[in-house]
């Protein structure tokens, strides 16, 4: 898995590429932790580069949600592929995390929170 990061004030946009499974979750967590500075109160996870996800990848996303919620921040998810959306739907994760069609919309909606 490759990851790219962008920072807008105190929001962090995270964009992982590749397959999101047991083999890649540790890389994801590690790289994210390095970028998760004190000031960050919102994460936008852009998933348009994720070709595959299973329950291990889902677990890492829930972990990210818990991590940012614990410090009072929010997590938004943008640009999911159909396979990812399907997994999200079955898992019930949509009850706690919002999906946005684009990164810009996700940013707009969590800015100021």
């Amino acid at each position: 898995m490759k990851l790219s990061f962008k920072k807008y004030n105190n929001k962090l946009v995270v964009r992982p590429y590749g397959e999101f499974d047991l083999h890649t979750v540790d890389i994801f967590k590690e790289k994210l932790e390095q970028r998760l500075t004190e000031d960050i109160n919102g994460i936008i996870l852009n998933l348009d580069g994720i070709k595959f996800i299973d329950s291990s990848g889902l677990g890492a996303i829930i972990g990210t949600y818990k991590r940012i919620s614990n410090k009072g921040g929010v997590l938004a998810i943008a640009e999911v592929t159909p396979q990812v959306e399907r997994i999200f739907e079955i898992s019930g994760i949509l009850k706690i995390i919002k999906l946005y069609p684009s990164e810009a919309e996700a940013l707009d909606n969590i800015v100021g929170r």
Binding site: E19, D21, L22, D54, S55
Partner: protein, 142 residues
């Protein structure tokens, strides 16, 4: 037509993608849609991950994946010689996990495959049997 293949891998997370690719490639001789092939991949991914994490608990063992195409259906048997499951019924409950994970792996397999059975003996290992039939074939039968 009948066709068989068998993939045996070391229980390393490096091999999860290999297992997915191999089974999906074998499955593609049937009339599965792309969405159905994705479902098969998730099931394989969950089963192999479980053998690595729960079955062998990080030790190196072998995971055996047998595939068969028979009468337009795909049969998959995934076997490990790991620690086994004590209570299969409980293991299958959503959110049940013994390893601080999601507890959704077996739930996903069950919802993505047409048939799903688990056999397991503590300290001997676990066998997962699954069947998937292309939706297109199911329609033709009815």
């Amino acid at each position: 037509m009948e066709n068989k293949a068998r993939l045996v891998i070391d229980s390393l997370s490096d091999n999860i993608g290999l297992a997915r690719v191999t089974v999906a490639s074998f499955a593609s001789q049937l009339n599965f849609t792309l969405a159905e092939l994705e479902e098969i991949k998730v099931a394989i991914s969950e089963a192999v991950s479980n053998s690595i994490i729960h079955g062998y608990q990080g030790e190196i063992g072998e995971i055996d994946i047998s595939m068969r195409v028979h009468e337009h259906q795909l049969e998959i048997i995934i076997e490990d010689q790991g620690c086994g499951i004590e209570d299969i019924k409980t293991a299958c409950e959503p959110a049940y996990t013994t390893a601080d994970r999601m507890g959704l792996g077996l739930v996903f397999i069950d919802s993505f495959m047409d048939k799903f059975e688990i056999e397991s003996k503590v300290n001997q290992g676990t066998i997962l049997k699954m069947v998937k039939i292309p939706a297109q074939e199911q329609k033709q039968v009815n």
